[in-house]
Symmetry: C2
Subunit: 429 residues, 2 copies
């Protein structure tokens, strides 16, 4: 099917999705989970075809690993679908209710955004995750996966679409685009697509952000910082630093730069350096750090290593740390270790990032750890959604005003006056 036609079908389906009750959407989620289980062997086979072809094409080992869709990945996504069923329905929540005047009631009601575009690299499990989020939130989706996962994606989309429709989702609620031109077409469809979610490498996300007028939910960089204050428990500082850097190096909420108060250069700095080096982490330092622990100089404070590497800088105050972070950070996650509440308060309220932590690891920055139940992504934008984004990120709202023939002329003319009092009930229709 042509891209444009698919988008118009999705738009139409979106109106119907928004009006399905929670029972149907939850049943569809269960039905999709079952269908995936039932078709597991065919899915694994399609994935083997992709793996064999991609290996022959010379795809990097790390990408082959992400391309793999086996029983473990299937179990994960199926359990993800089940957990979505248990979450409260995000549609139709009354967010505000005001009586403008007798018999003139204003309600702000949550509703789905409409059509979500998803562009993802490699990982076919992303297709299942995002389809599940779309069903739960009542949005239609248009998907474009990487050509390396072509066979897996095609079968996944078919199984998910058929199961969804069988349980009452409207035709066209999910569309998979396969042509080479589809990415460009998706990026240009700002009339048809309300929100884009890219899933892939930083370069990939940056490319998407730079080449579309559609709002993008996500982040390109995660240049996270940890500041170790003069007044800190050194043991806590080292524990938090090690977890922030080494617990999982390839993720966006791992620390890339550690800022250390210069009063700690003689004792804590060498201890931390030893712990980092023992864990196989290579250190790059500012001039004073290099002098203190003999390491290579930092080439660029903007660097996101995503690897066993870290930058260290000595600073003379919390304010210098804050300035460094606001200058070089990407607005993702920053932490301070300090025993002083006043310093923590100042740091948390002056650092301009989505997530700011006191005395704990940057690695906590995550929708599941935050208890959101589902994660749509992590946003470094300040508009719409910031930080880890749950189902709310796929919702917007609508003002609904219920009257009895009221006109503005009477209020403009002074015959009637607005009363603006809160109403203690939910949207009644």
């Amino acid at each position: 099917m042509e891209t444009k036609q698919m988008a118009m079908r999705a738009r139409q389906a979106a109106y119907e999705m928004a009006n399905l009750n929670a029972g149907i959407r939850n049943a569809a989620l269960m039905g999709i989970a079952d269908a995936l289980d039932r078709n597991s062997q065919a899915l694994f086979e399609a994935n083997r075809t992709d793996l064999v072809r991609s290996q022959a094409d010379g795809l990097a080992t790390s990408l082959l690993k992400r391309l793999k869709f086996d029983q473990e990945k299937l179990s994960e996504v199926v359990s993800g679908l089940h957990s979505l069923v248990g979450l409260p329905d995000p549609i139709g929540r009354t967010q505000l209710a005001t009586r403008l005047d007798a018999g003139l009631e204003l309600y702000r009601v949550s509703c789905p955004i409409g059509v979500i575009g998803v562009i993802f690299e490699s990982r076919p499990d992303a297709l299942v995750q995002i389809s599940g989020l779309a069903v739960k939130s009542g949005n239609a989706i248009l998907l474009k996966g990487g050509s390396e996962a072509m066979e897996t994606n095609r079968l996944l989309a078919k199984v998910i679409n058929e199961a969804g429709c069988q349980f009452g989702l409207p035709d066209g609620w999910i569309g998979l685009m396969e042509t080479r031109e589809a990415v460009g077409q998706l990026l240009a469809m700002d009339d048809e697509i309300d929100l884009l979610i890219p899933r892939g490498s930083n370069e990939f996300v940056r490319y998407i952000m730079d080449n579309t007028r559609i709002p993008v939910l996500g982040h390109a960089d995660g240049v996270c910082h940890l500041y170790i204050d003069r007044a800190c428990d050194p043991e806590m500082a080292i524990t938090v630093a090690m977890d922030s850097k080494t617990q999982y190096v390839a993720v966006c909420n791992a620390v890339e730069t550690i800022l250390i108060h210069s009063a700690l250069s003689e004792k804590l700095l060498p201890e931390l350096a030893k712990a980092l080096r023992d864990a196989g982490v290579q250190i790059y330092g500012c001039q004073r750090t290099c002098a203190a622990i003999n390491c290579d100089p930092v080439s660029d404070w903007h660097t996101e290593y995503l690897d066993c590497q870290v930058s260290i800088r000595l600073v003379d105050s919390a304010d210098e740390a804050i300035e460094h972070i606001n200058r070089y950070g990407s607005g993702h996650t920053e932490a301070i270790v300090t025993a002083q509440e006043e310093t923590a308060r100042h740091f948390l309220s002056h650092v301009d990032s989505g997530n700011v932590f006191w005395n704990c690891s940057t690695r906590f920055s995550d929708g599941f750890r935050y208890g959101f139940g589902a994660e749509v992504g992590i946003s470094t934008s300040k508009i719409h959604a910031r930080g880890p984004v749950g189902l709310d990120g796929l919702m917007t709202y609508q003002y609904r005003l219920l009257g009895h023939g009221q006109i503005v002329g009477e209020y403009a003319g002074g015959q009637k006056k607005f009363i603006h009092e809160p109403i203690d009930r939910d949207y009644p229709l």
Copy 2:
């Protein structure tokens, strides 16, 4: 001062603005109001210079009217500043509080977006309004006004800046750009400006939206619809239609197209046509409407007349009306007049616009009428803010996590488990 330098000063000022307490920001609002009153004669004189020059330059009468800044306009903006003081402080509100585990507390706290860029045509009162909103919300602002209002804008910005700083706002919290190149520079500063608010004609706003990567708060078009259902009180239908179309024709929430159930073509349609024509409104119709009331055919259902003109179309069902609206509307405001609750429910939940009304005029779509106290603008976007936008539209939030040395390793390893329970207190720092 150079544009780039001004933007960097604003960014720095934004960090300080975000941390001023409400008392200082409210005192600054009062101080600015007083300073404007004190400098009224100089302001009116500057404005006369602008008016004389613009008249000589041949500026259209309607634009000259908007350019005028006299005692009436001054009193309006000063009273607007006073009313901002009375609104609750939008900064530092706890939106969510969750105990992730013992001694590990997550708070979501509201904070200003940062640097707001404002580009406006003609009306100097817009400069005062938006400066007041920025102070109340703790944002820094960069302004670019039209060259026709140069002298007025320059003096307004000077008075507002000096009064603000005198009451404790940081240097650089407001910046006025005056060069011809400034608009292009503003639009390109997506690293320095977090949100753009354009104020001016539709073409002007459309131009801004099409030429920047910065998120834009606003709307270009207001193609609003009224659907008159078969089952309606004809008197109410005509009253609501007349108010929606004629109460003030030049505004975005006035109706441009009236959709009427075809069963009403013999009685209600001619009655409404007579009322509209008596009020000086020219009617353009679909084929059936033209046949029924003898009018010119509609040339384009997308047209926003903003004038004493209206399009009328006969439809055979509420669904046909909904389809028309979702196809030709701009997502602003749509109303239905019907006596049937089920039809109203269906209409309100299927029309994809920011504001959907039952049995009342489209003209109610407005932040002041909604009781928001202040209006930043009306948004037809579904992202960030939709419909009339109050101070909330200038706010974002930050996740703040307070711990005691917790690391993710212990949770990933299973030694500790998240508890995710709500906390019944506000952010404590």
